[in-house]
Symmetry: D3
């Protein structure tokens, strides 16, 4: 426990960062382990509330997590796979949307409100925030390369950020579920990292923060000391080629690059397993995780 004087010192040390980010918009992709433990949930959302109170404009885009799998299991839906990709049929999509929008989103909203912020939850269907088209990836089948039909898996074709801007301007923290709307009103499941990146671009955000379950990008995946603190966008292709950025990290880094291209100032891949990693990134010089910038 710090003394009163230490408290004062730390508050004073935060001043330059508070000044620097005053009025800035920060989109946080909230997912992974940080959605599991009660302590981490409390920490992430407290960080967002604190950011709001010191004049920043946090926006949360959340992922899904085990609640979806659990509910699919409960209702006895089994997933089909095409070349390892899960097919989201109409039945599955109904459950996915209910869990994302009706359960996870509202839990986050209620928690923020209890901490003392004022949150409003949205689906990408509200005010047509996220419009999507069906995603049709190429896959390898026994009959050669084919276009896969993954059902209601979409990619964002257009972002209409007006409702988010309105909600921010009225002092609320927007909390957004990664569901989009198709041309005929149908729902699409969209990748939450990608939704966060696109929304950050559309809002002209200053920062995009993606919470992950790793320390950041490591030069040597077995050595936490090999964290790359700052990564220039131009270095990314070489790192992918050399296998240093690999697997699930590749699309996350690509979200960062897209956001940077669209004008987002800095993007961050943070370790969501460390409590208050967002706060530390924003209010200290130390640099948690990997910052990707132009």
């Amino acid at each position: 426990m710090s003394t009163a004087m230490e408290k004062a010192a730390i508050l004073v040390e935060a001043l330059p960062y508070i000044k620097k980010f005053y009025g800035k918009t920060v989109v946080i992709k909230y997912g992974g382990h940080a959605m599991l433990s009660r302590e981490l949930k409390e920490a992430v959302l407290t960080d967002a509330v604190l950011m709001k109170y010191v004049g920043m404009r946090p926006v949360i885009v959340h992922g899904g997590g085990p609640d979806i799998t659990n509910m699919l299991k409960r209702v006895g839906i089994q997933s089909n796979f095409v070349d390892g990709l899960r097919v989201t049929d109409a039945d599955t999509m109904e459950i996915v949307e209910m869990v994302l929008v009706g359960k996870i989103n509202k839990e986050i909203v209620a928690r923020i409100n209890r901490i003392g912020g004022r949150a409003v939850g949205l689906s990408g269907k509200d005010a047509c925030l996220f419009e999507a088209v069906k995603k049709c990836p190429k896959v390898q089948t026994s009959e050669g390369e084919m276009t896969a039909d993954l059902g209601y898996v979409g990619e964002i074709s257009r972002v209409n950020p007006g409702i988010v801007t309105t909600i921010i301007a009225e002092g609320y923290i927007p909390v957004i579920a990664p569901v989009a709307v198709g041309e005929r009103g149908e729902s699409y499941n969209i990748n939450a990292d990608s939704a966060a990146g696109r929304l950050a671009a559309a809002l002209g955000a200053d920062k995009l923060i993606i919470l992950t379950d790793v320390e950041g990008i490591l030069r040597d995946r077995n050595d936490p000391g090999s964290l790359i603190s700052v990564l220039r966008s131009a270095e990314v292709p070489a790192l992918i080629e050399r296998g240093i950025i690999e697997g699930g990290m590749i699309p996350k880094v690509e979200c960062c690059l897209d956001a940077l291209l669209s004008g987002v100032k800095t993007t961050h891949i943070l370790d969501g397993r460390a409590p208050h990693s967002i706060l530390l990134e924003v209010f200290t010089d130390q640099g948690i995780g990997t910052m990707v910038e132009n």
Copy 2:
């Protein structure tokens, strides 16, 4: 099919009503049969969009309907009853909230957007729109009168309508699910009629419209011709005593009386089974259903 000239005549006839309700807020409780058929859904929501375009401010509070029962069945939850009242335990409430907020609400939102309006869906948890306390009715048991524990069934203790006002002011149609938030962030199932009435009062609405599955209040329940078109609030107690207002209609009428007491100008119990009953009520003199007023 009407001729062009008849169209002109009818548009001209609507003018006094358009003038009269310009800028007025109308809260619509949307439930019952009107949520079941595709045609009725389309009609109700088209009415709302039209109201918006001619300058009114419609707000929709929807109910649940068979989707909840179906989903409870799918996940194998059986309901317990106390003196005929269903107990909403934590498991049940989770499903109820998911279906109301994650499925029904978003379907309505997507449909309005397709018709050409701009809708934003909210739960009562968003921005703490509806705060609730647990509802503890007196029930008769074999051991005498007792206070029933119905689980997560709540009654609204406070309405914070700011977010709804914001959304209206930006030109959206708010669509609201009847879920409220308790002191510890827990969810409560609330009666949708009551939610609509309380919201109408908090917004200072001009009209509260409750869609039902009957013609309105009949003096003789077997004679549709005995519809009471206009009911003064002072007449209600006598009609209840005489059994003319009875059963499920009693709480609906009480919602109307409460809303009138809080300043809502007129309240309406309409037949949701007739397409465009809202439009007819608002834009013609004929008087569909029963208007309850002071």
Copy 3:
């Protein structure tokens, strides 16, 4: 008489048009037969009020009609003519202005107010709305081509639309008499079609509607079935050359072309003898009269 259900259907059918023209400015040149019968007056002005209530911004520029001739006769002023053109001397202009501004304009204003709109009448002198210079056409006389002195007949040299914008913004329907002001404060009689076209351009209107006493532009003047519904501006010169557009229709079409050049989206030559022709044009697909567009 339509049934209640037909009314609902027709209101619903109007929705796409109401949406399409929401917030759009429409300048209506009101003249000819539509100023004579009580029924047609009521119809035209009711259309304007309805447009206002569903969110459009109608502006009325009216012509003169028989009232001027009658009053000139009453005060015993005889007109002189130069090559068939009437000379408006100072005495005549005084009467013209009094009738246009002090009688016709105020009758229209009072009628709109009675129908339920809120109208404000202006002359082109108010706030220097229309500035004019003397019009000096070439005429053929016995002594060869000469510049005619038609007295106080002017053409608009500048439009200052600020006062009209103010009045629209406050929710009024502006009603404007075709009188302009010269450099020394003198009054000029100006052509009402031309005033409407110039005002539409200055306001950045979406539509210019000119009410005439014919069905529109006919390919064969004896066959009402030969109406040209849509006319591209590029086709006009050929039609004039072939005599299909002729006489008094030529300047009206030229007003349309000028307005289109200045950014007005569509222009319409409608039959003012048919009640509610404006409403039908605006709120149905059928296309009354001739639309001239780029």
Copy 4:
């Protein structure tokens, strides 16, 4: 001709008055001789423009004068009288309105615009500024006291000053003709003094200035030196009784009293025959004419 230094001195002397009346609304009843000579017209309207430029908010309500009589003569209308009061039948009213609104009002507007102000002329029909009911005075006939039917002579039943406030706020000088609108849209001739007084009250004006053709109220009508500079409203009844205030001055003083009762701060009866009497009243201490105050 004053020297430059004298000019400076006089501008400096005006400073306290400019300060005192900054932002204040002044309603000027403009009539009588001041409407006849070109020089006096120029002086009165220049005063109004100057008031506008130093931050005051002048509003002009004008009378009729000889133009009406001339035009009635020209069209051969003869007036009937009841007990000495002129009857304004429909024919007469048509001419009265045309002259007031279509001639006098627009001449004033054009003149102000030429001097460098920005004027907008209104009739009391515009935006229903003046609503009137028929005036039915008691008259003495050979058959005893009767209610006279004076035709379209009205008294103001309601003032809707919104349009005037709008026009002032946009920087224009409103110029208003004393015509009012009846319940069925018919026109009424109203007394201009009374219109000015009622408008001053409705606008919450600071000053009401009535231009007359006398020096003010004289204690001895044969002695210009007996001018009453300041008259308390409480003294009025006695002065009427003693015949000091008499004839046409009585209704003017009554307009002042009514305006004072409704919150207008000071009222003035000025000599319109003296050039710039308004300016002198407003910007010097000397006190021109008679000020009536509470």
Copy 5:
């Protein structure tokens, strides 16, 4: 040095206080030792800047200190005393004003700007912020009680806080010197505690903080452990009577009582010798110094 995690914890702990005081106005009387050491100056003004950045509205009223005495000495002005009170003659006042406004005030402004705030310095003469009348205390002389003439020592007769409100609204920190203006434009020296108290009242501030050179109010002046943390205004008279509040503390406590009477929520007497005492008072529960409240 705290770890990153401790920093996060402390920032999180500050959240409830940041929320509580968001948008609140706090008037700080800055004087005594806190104006002497460079470290304390930096600490006090950093606290003010931090308060600004987390959404509060600090206002600084500063005192004089040794700079005045030094300058008086330099110019060779010797003070006269009446019954122990210093007389501020015209010569003295000139120096006092120059030092307060031209030196101390601008040093504070420049320092805040360097720390990263945006400050604007004002004297009580600017926009007539503080109007004063001469202070004429009763004093005991050899000839009995007399009214002392202390020269240009004034007391505030009126506060015109408009300029301060303007400056706050534009995001600046107002820094105010305790000089007031008399009826004839002359300057008065006013007590800075009193100026702070009166300004807090006029601004409707939430907090008045008076920095002193003691720990607060002690029950036993020799025992720092006897600090009274919270003092009810009703207890003050008894404490004065018993000599617990005495000497220079009496007028400070009276400033607090006056401010409380005028609607200031809480007032604080803090130890300006402890760095960041303001921050600790505002952002921790511990309670530094003595809070006086109703």
Copy 6:
């Protein structure tokens, strides 16, 4: 003493000028003799107040004058000179700033407030209005050309006019002392002509008026009749070469040229010894002093 009628005539004559400069910003460099006599002070500041009341936006930048020298003498500071230029060491600067900001500025503010304006005094340190760097002129010494160290004499490197704009918008007259702030918060003495010119440029002023102690620029310095009323900027270099513009007038004219380059419309060198020379320049055609324009 003029008659009332002459007063009216003169006010009317000022009308075109009042119109022309309505809403325009005028920066006045106030210095020289006009700061010495009580009558001239009153005249200059009255002119500013009058300008404010007729809708202009005067801004005053004042110089120093004999008060500084007197105070330096009183505290026994002797000035050092380098090549004839006075060195402003830290001690001197402290006195200069105190006198400019704490005495002269506040006297002007108090005087304007007494005349009836509303003034707010600022130093260039407030809100970092004037940022400066040290001025290091080349000088000739016995050892050849060297860079002189004049101490705290600065030149403006940046103007942040936001605070001045705010103060003007709220209806105040800004009064600004020529002190600037350096990078480390230190104070710099800056030339008042130059401060006025730079501020005029930064504000986008319409006029820059520099009060001097001569009639203006004379072709023949011994002949007051040889005043150059209008000087084109292109003519300046030749006039300097020919010695017609010489000595202290050169930097003043250069301030004018700089201001013209930055968009100020006209600049004026006026005789501050003639009372109300500003008013005469602004409100008459006669042209006092020399106008420099592009």
